[in-house]
């Protein structure tokens, strides 16, 4: 298991675990980040990333990306 920030652009991975505050986690789940779901990195800048989750493009900051484990 490693944080999403370690992932390179273009790779697709399965989400293993989502950390962080309950509220934020719930928001991520509503946006399509669920354990077992796929996430692909579109672009990455200093750990801030744009990812493809269930065909939606979501921008997430470094702090959050660090809490998503793949």
């Amino acid at each position: 298991m490693m944080p999403l920030t370690m992932c390179k652009a273009g790779e697709e991975n399965e989400i293993k675990k989502i950390g962080g505050k309950e509220e934020t986690r719930r928001h991520l789940e509503n946006l399509g980040f669920v354990v077992g779901g796929k996430v692909a990195v579109i672009s990455e800048t200093d750990g801030n990333m744009i990812v493809n989750v269930k065909e939606a493009r979501v921008a997430i900051g470094k702090d959050m990306a660090n809490k998503i484990m793949i």
Partner: protein, 731 residues
């Protein structure tokens, strides 16, 4: 029978586009999540008794941000007769997650799969018959933008609303979960209709704390929650979320046939790789901003404004109106009121409309092409250092057009603390109405040089950054901003109609303002200025034939001068005193609280813009006689930073939703404006003239204090956590 139909769906799935098409209204459509922050009502075209309600976009019925609360409260508490659930066909899997929740409300639902034109272009096929069967509602294919299928969707929704059929969802979770939901349903008191029980049962299991307000009897479901959590080794909320996605995954294969894609990246992704690139992101952003403001303020907009001010008003309208009124032998005072009062006051403001229109075109373009949410993402890296979130940048950018929508756009910021800070600082950005003040000061004191306008934006941004740092270190705002999470819509070309409509809507509100508030205040000001105590009796003052010092002495007798002088001492340390004209500056700044354009309108009257109408820039000369350039720059900065106009203050009050916070915001803005303006004048005067006095010492002390606040060690305090739920219930 009157029926209400609500439009519900994910952010940016086309609800407002559909709303406009169905009702014929002109609500602004943008391409970023959170354009609609308040629900909007309209009548369905051709059906007088059908109300359509446009709701802000939501990702689920468990709200995260304020605008999501608005939508959920409407759906759950007001219960519309039918819901049109709009689903973005290009991103159907994620959109269906909300649909499964909407189906549980027990309200008749029509699913409108939107953006079918793009789905077809991509070569994908959505099997609506399957979708309808699996989710238990009628499904129609539409394209809100092209207008296809929308009448069918609306008619079906109206028919459903009239039928008043009881609806139950077709989807089901794993049997263990279903058993427990059934158990909880049995515990819910019988005053809740059967079809709504599933919704309440799930909300009870999810431990939703707002649900108690809707239930008369709160059943104890802790045993069921424990049973579920033990079985799945997870919390109930995640279990149910997961069950929804599992159900969707199980049906998506039958409902959607995807065309084989050769390329992995879409055009939008390619653009994103470039514009959010580590090296190019900021230069590209800076270039875009530079083009927007350079074109609208300096070149095209400036040219149009000069022409309107100097030629249209200066050479044609003002002398024309005077000649006309004199030819019809109108009473002298009435000619004065119309020409010197109304036309010069309102005209001074209207002159800036072209400049604003150009700026509004750019802003509308930025909002509707999809770059807006990227800006938030790019700026997040930087804003995070000042204690603000990247999402704070959207309100500020919109605020450069007008502060009212800017302040309202802060609703999309999920963290209460970040949002309050954004509301307080958004109006530091020069809005369209402050442009006239900038142009006036630049023209009168600095040979129209471009740096004045640029520095005004710089001062605004610096004020935001410094406020962010300073406020962050206070107990009230301690803590980190919420992590950045934002959906990025695909880029698309804005339609010309949408951009022009938005430009016109916003521009028109300025013109309307000139015709109402500003017209009224110029009339009041004219009377206050032309009546006074002459030789001990109250009456109309006669300024005819007076010039220079004699004119000023006569003017000092008017009511306005008396009132102005009473408050002018407050502004004396800012250098608004030269030649006994301090009251004019004080009056202008105070009238700016009504509307910022008023500052220029007031100067137009006080210094007799119309008297010297052959040369529109004549007001510059009179103005340059009463202030030193340093004081004038301080005056400009004061007006940029102090409390905004009444309309924007109203927006701040609404969004803060708390009297104490409202006054704190207004007080902070005014005090900051006063201090910065004082420092500019005192230290500027020391440098240019060499005057050193008490004021200079005060200024230096203030600067030292300011630097201390900026750099003092930052003690992390985690004791104060804003309770988002509490704010939600207050709304």
């Amino acid at each position: 029978m009157a029926v209400k139909i609500a439009l519900a769906g994910n952010p940016n799935c086309g609800k407002t586009t559909l709303f406009n098409a169905l009702t014929g209204s002109n609500q602004f459509v943008g391409n970023w999540p959170g354009v609609t922050v308040e629900k909007k009502e309209g009548r369905l075209k051709g059906h007088k008794d059908v109300t359509i309600m446009d709701l802000p976009g939501i990702y689920s019925l468990s709200p995260y941000t304020l605008e999501e609360v608005v939508a959920r409260n409407y759906l759950v508490a007001d219960r519309p007769d039918a819901i049109i659930n709009i689903v973005d066909g290009t991103n159907i899997e994620r959109n269906l997650y909300l649909s499964t929740q909407i189906m549980e409300l027990g309200i008749p639902v029509i699913m409108a799969v939107n953006m079918m034109d793009i789905v077809a272009k991509n070569g994908d096929v959505i099997h609506i018959d399957k979708l309808s069967q699996k989710l238990g509602c009628e499904v129609v294919e539409i394209s809100a933008l092209k207008g296809t299928g929308i009448t069918k969707a609306a008619e079906k929704a109206v028919a459903l609303a009239h039928q008043k059929k009881k609806v139950t969802p077709a989807h089901a979770f794993a049997s263990e979960v279903e058993d427990i939901i059934a158990k909880v349903e049995d515990k819910i008191s019988s005053d809740i209709p059967q079809e709504q029980k599933r919704f309440f049962a799930i909300k009870l299991l999810e431990k939703d704390d707002k649900i108690s307000e809707l239930l008369s009897l709160m059943p104890d479901v802790s045993a069921e929650i424990r049973e579920l959590e033990d079985h799945f080794d997870d919390d109930t909320e995640s279990i149910i979320t997961n069950e929804r996605y599992v159900y969707i995954s199980s049906i998506i294969g039958e409902c959607l046939t995807k065309a084989k894609k050769g390329e992995k990246l879409s055009t939008s992704d390619k653009i994103d790789r470039f514009v959010t690139n580590r090296f190019f992101a900021l230069p590209i952003f800076a270039l875009v901003m530079f083009i927007v403001y350079y074109v609208s303020i300096t070149t095209v907009g400036g040219f149009l404004t000069d022409w309107t001010n100097d030629t249209l008003f200066g050479e044609w309208i003002v002398p024309g109106a005077r000649t006309l009124l004199e030819n019809i032998h109108c009473a002298g005072w009435l000619t004065g009121l119309v020409v010197d009062g109304i036309i010069s006051g309102v005209g001074a403001v209207l002159g800036f409309v072209p400049q604003m229109l150009v700026l509004f075109i750019f802003l509308a373009f930025l909002e509707s092409c999809g770059y807006m949410s990227r800006i938030a993402f790019i700026m997040d890296r930087i804003f995070r250092k000042f204690g603000l979130s990247g999402k704070s940048f959207i309100p500020m950018l919109i605020g450069s057009g007008c502060g009212v929508p800017g302040v309202m756009a802060s609703r999309t910021i999920e963290n209460d603390r970040d949002r309050k800070m954004t509301i307080m600082t958004t109006t530091f950005v020069p809005c369209g109405a402050k442009l006239p003040i900038i142009a006036l000061i630049a023209g009168a004191f600095f040979h129209n040089s471009g740096w004045v306008a640029w520095s005004a934006y710089f001062v605004g941004v610096a004020a935001i950054i410094c406020s962010g740092i300073i406020l962050k270190k206070t107990k009230m705002f301690a803590g980190d901003p919420a992590p950045f999470v934002m959906e990025l819509p695909a880029y698309h070309w804005p339609t010309v109609g949408n951009v022009l409509r938005s430009m016109w809507e916003r521009g028109w509100s300025f013109i309307k303002k000139a015709g109402t508030i500003i017209l009224l205040s110029t009339i009041v000001l004219w009377f206050l200025m032309n009546f006074g105590w002459s030789n001990g009796t109250f009456g109309m003052l006669d300024f005819d034939g007076l010039e220079g010092a004699a004119l000023e002495a006569a003017q000092a007798e008017c009511v306005l001068a008396k009132v102005g002088s009473a408050i002018a001492w407050i502004f004396a340390p800012l250098g608004w005193t030269k030649a006994g004209n301090g009251w004019k500056m004080a009056v202008a700044a105070v009238s700016g609280l009504i509307a910022k354009e008023n500052v220029v309108a007031t100067f137009g009257q006080l210094f007799g813009f119309a008297e010297v109408a052959e040369d529109g820039s004549e007001i510059w000369k009179s103005l340059s006689l009463v202030m030193t350039p340093v004081a004038a720059y301080g005056f400009l900065v004061f007006n940029l930073l102090c409390a905004p106009c009444f309309a924007a203050m109203g927006a701040i009050k609404r969004e803060m939703n708390n009297v104490k916070w409202f006054w704190f915001a207004i007080g902070y803005q005014c005090i900051l404006a006063y201090i910065v303006s004082l420092c500019i004048y005192q230290i500027g005067t020391l440098i240019t003239v060499g005057t050193f006095g008490v004021g200079t010492v005060v200024a230096f002390l203030l600067i030292i204090g300011f630097i201390y606040l900026l750099f003092r060690p930052y003690k992390e305090s985690n004791t104060l956590n804003f309770d988002a739920k509490k704010t939600v219930s207050a709304k």
